[in-house]
């Protein structure tokens, strides 16, 4: 059973990592506009249709 303490310790550290990543994502504005990027990614980079 003692191994559980170790496992939970690890899982906790990983979870802290995910929490930090989430907080960073919110802070950097990724949740401010949830629509436009979905359209933007579909544009080609060099499109010069006449």
């Amino acid at each position: 059973m003692a191994v559980i303490a170790l496992l939970i310790g690890f899982s906790f550290i990983i979870a802290v990592g995910f929490l930090a990543a989430f907080l960073w994502a919110v802070k950097s504005g990724q949740y401010d506009d949830k629509y436009t990027p979905s359209v933007r990614m579909l544009f080609d980079d060099n499109d010069t249709i006449k």
Binding site: M1, A2, I4, A5, I8, S11, F12, A15, V16, F18, L19, F22, L23, V26, K27, Y31, D32, D33, K34, Y35, T36, V39, R40, L42, F43, D44, D47, T48, I49, K50
Partner: protein, 802 residues
């Protein structure tokens, strides 16, 4: 690339904006345009290899209005720049514009390629849902004015507002909600993990694990209690200070007890605590908040008079014209008002022929003529040539400003908190407190530990999370469904008010009738092509709304008009191909024709060389579906119509509306407000539907004000809700769906109640264990989330709203 509409196609549509091409044809590269404005945009894009714009979406363009660069010269003013720019360091600057014209993916693409049209633009980014563009530009290569002019030239004229609301604060608020959810979810997940050994039973040899896990749990409880729950404590405290027991009071009580008992149990090592239940509860509550907090960023429901006024005005001083911001306008300044400009301050006419269109203030769109020395009130729009005014009152003291302030002062603030949840929570909290105190007193003489356990257990398990979750989820869903149908509401409490409406007051012009359209019919001797074009050219010279409608009706190639003259409220005349055309009232152009029959139409007579040809009959067009709305709401609701116009439509309205409908004509904005007030004093719940211009006061006064707008994104008047003209016919469905949502909420209470009874049964005996709470509380939350979401969707589908 999509096949472009060719000239041979039977339906001719503009390659740029998709409008039907009428009258004059503009062609370029074998493509057809409805006006030269559209063609110019096409040429600009083509020269810069930006024609991908037309490949992404068909006819994505916006027909640009004619742009006078001088109109934007105030943007060179440093004070104005400072207020508009987000940031500047002297070399580069950034600005966020609100562009109501953004409507498709082509718009995003073009606006993000701005640097190809103006080398000064470093970066431009679109926020589609907010209809905003963020632009960073090089001050040495471009200027704010250049960018605004460029945007306007390609059809995206920015909406410039100096006292723009702090949108940044709003985004900070949503962000902090996301942080809280993140923290709560993290703590919920981990504390469940830490609680498992306890729930599954730890054997004696491993008992050293128990304190480790429970202390870790305690550590997780701290951020949940002090950070995630903070809003609930603040709101509950605020409510109690105002002597209101709002929904957050019992929730805050529940959270405090969950935390307190957990801390006690963990520190004394008497139990594992309720940390997992507490974090789970918080996570669901906060998720509900996200659902409810969804608002329409791009719509501004809090308009005031300032947003109708221009930002700056031309002042003439010692013969020199300068542009100054409106706020620095002083008494005695000479200002210049051009055609179609709004008069920002009360003033006296010094020069020019003033014909003021007061439709914004009074609803009457026929221009009123003013002569030299006469007073003009702010809010009117000049229709005609340039005039000069002397400012007699500063902007903040003008008639219109005072009118607005009166409206705003006299109107109580409409509460945001739900009435339903407040009234329930008041009794609920009382009952729960009485029950738990009773149980405490019952157990205390026998067993003090059980007494405390039972007391706290009841308060924990009775925490009205179901109430707090079902309301935001149901109303949030309803708000989304309404939004999809072009019906935008200010906040979710509007839904509750909408479900209780028993009286509907309609404004006439622009609300139940189409604002810009009217049916024009020519009755009389048939006109030859030449005569028709002559009439068109004559009417085109006047800006009177009736002339515009007639011009639209006779549309064609314009011919030169000589000796044009306009007599206000009589008619217009001119010589075309050496024939004298007269268009106007019966006395002006209609001598000898049959006297007016019914009064429910406006007639404009036409005579050529003195011979009366006939008349144009102009009728309001009522919106589609008005009959259906009246029919389906007739039993539940009483109707009234208030109109700023004269009685000419009375007979027609009487035939449309059910018997007993109150019809009021010649109503000023104040009259409309007072009419709504008098209905309310009879205990009626009034829904006012108007166009938000001259009935803004009535919209505010009513229990619920809905503004009908042809173009929701371009104009949002002050109101509780905004509805697109096309969705007007669905109003009955919206009202019925609102009451349905309230029913869904009430039935979800029933579910929650079953769970609660179950929990209370154990809590009464002081046997509510953490594992029970850990199962019961999330289970009840999840059931409610599912029930409300699914039933709302189902009903919306059934009603054809989804």
């Amino acid at each position: 690339m999509e096949k472009s509409p060719t000239l041979s196609e039977s339906k001719l549509i503009c390659f740029h904006c998709g409008d039907t091409v009428r009258g004059e044809r503009v062609e370029q590269d074998g493509k057809l345009f409805c006006c030269s404005g559209c063609k110019i945009v096409y040429e600009i894009l083509q020269q810069n290899n930006l024609c991908n714009y037309y490949a992404l979406q068909q006819t994505p363009g916006i027909s640009p209005s004619t742009i006078e660069v001088s109109r934007f010269s105030f943007l060179d003013d440093e004070k104005i720049q400072q207020q508009l720019l987000d940031f500047t360091d002297g070399k580069t600057a950034s600005v966020t514009f609100s562009l109501p014209a953004i409507h498709c993916s082509s718009c995003i693409w073009l606006l993000e390629q701005l640097y190809r049209l103006d080398s000064g633009v470093i970066q431009s980014r679109v926020d589609y849902l907010k209809k905003q563009v963020f632009i960073r530009f090089d001050l040495s290569k471009s200027s704010l004015k250049n960018i605004v002019v460029l945007l306007s030239t390609v059809g995206y004229e920015p909406e410039l507002q100096l006292d723009a609301v702090d949108k940044k604060l709003e985004s900070e608020k949503t962000r902090s909600l996301y942080y809280k959810i993140g923290v709560a979810a993290f703590c919920f997940g981990n504390s469940m993990l830490f609680s498992f050994p306890e729930y599954l039973g730890v054997d004696a040899t491993e008992s050293f694990l128990r304190p480790i896990f429970s202390y870790l749990n305690l550590l997780l409880a701290i951020p949940v209690f002090f950070y995630c729950s903070a809003d609930y404590f603040v709101s509950a405290y605020g409510g109690l200070q105002k002597k209101i027991v709002n929904i957050d009071v019992p929730i805050a009580l529940g959270i405090i007890l969950l935390f307190g008992r957990s801390v006690y149990e963990i520190l004394t090592q008497t139990g594992p605590g309720f940390v997992d239940s507490m974090s789970g509860l918080l996570m669901f509550l906060l998720l509900g908040r996200v659902f409810q907090s969804k608002t329409y960023d791009r719509l501004n429901f809090e308009r005031n008079y300032k947003s109708y006024f221009p930002l700056s005005i031309t002042v003439k001083k010692n013969g020199v014209e300068t542009t100054v911001p409106i706020s620095s306008l002083k008494r005695g300044d000479r200002i210049i008002i051009r055609n179609n400009e709004i008069i920002p301050a009360d003033g006296m006419v010094l020069r020019g022929n003033a014909a003021i269109d007061y439709s914004f203030v009074t609803g009457e769109s026929t221009p009123i003529e003013k002569v030299l020395g006469e007073m003009i009130y702010a809010g009117g729009k000049q229709a005609g040539g340039m005039i000069e005014l002397e400012v007699t009152k500063e902007v903040s003291q003008s008639y219109l400003t005072q009118l607005w302030n009166n409206f705003n002062n006299s109107i109580r603030e409409k509460g945001e908190l739900s009435e339903l949840s407040n009234s329930i929570s008041k009794y609920f909290t009382f009952v729960v407190l009485v029950v738990s105190l009773g149980v405490l007193l019952y157990w205390l003489p026998k067993d003090s530990t059980t007494a405390i356990n039972a007391f706290t257990g009841i308060l924990i398990v009775a925490c009205p999370c179901a109430l707090a979750i079902s309301i935001p989820f149901t109303l949030g869903m309803t708000l989304r469904i309404f939004g999809r149908n072009n019906f935008y509401i200010k906040n979710t409490s509007v839904i509750e008010t909408l479900s209780k409406i028993d009286t509907i007051v309609f404004d006439k012009t622009g609300t139940i009738t189409h604002a810009q359209q009217a049916s024009v019919e020519y009755i009389g001797t048939e006109l030859t092509d030449e005569e028709r074009l002559g009439t068109f050219s004559l009417a085109k010279n006047s800006i009177h709304p009736v002339s515009k409608m007639i011009a639209d009706h006779c549309k064609g190639e314009q011919i030169t008009v000589e000796n044009f003259s306009e007599q206000i409220s009589k008619g217009i005349s001119g010589t075309i191909n050496s024939k004298i055309y007269r268009l106007g009232s019966q006395g002006f152009a209609g001598h000898g024709i049959l006297p007016k029959g019914t009064v429910n139409e406006t007639r404009t007579y036409l005579s050529i060389n003195g011979e009366v040809k006939g008349y144009f009959s102009i009728k309001n067009i009522y919106r589609d579906g008005l009959d259906a709305i009246l029919l389906s709401l007739k039993k539940k609701v009483q109707f009234s119509v208030v109109s700023g116009d004269n009685e000419s439509e009375r007979v027609r309205l009487q035939s449309i509306f059910p018997k007993g409908t109150d019809l009021q004509f010649n109503q000023t904005p104040i009259d409309k407000l007072n009419y709504v007030k008098s209905l309310q004093s009879q205990g009626k719940k009034v829904l006012m539907i108007g166009d938000g211009l001259n009935d803004a006061g009535a919209l505010l006064q009513s229990n619920l004000g809905i503004a009908v707008s042809e173009n929701v994104s371009q104009f949002s008047p002050s109101s509780d809700a905004i509805i697109g003209g096309d969705s007007f016919r669905k109003i009955a469905e919206f009202i019925q769906f609102a009451s349905l949502s309230m029913k869904i909420i009430i039935s979800s209470f029933a579910f929650a109640f079953i769970y609660n009874l179950f929990g209370i049964y154990f809590a009464l005996q002081g046997e509510l264990t953490p594992i029970m709470a850990a199962i019961l509380m999330p289970a009840s939350s999840i059931t409610i989330v599912f029930f409300t979401t699914i039933s709302t969707q189902l009903f919306a589908k059934k009603r054809g709203l989804l």
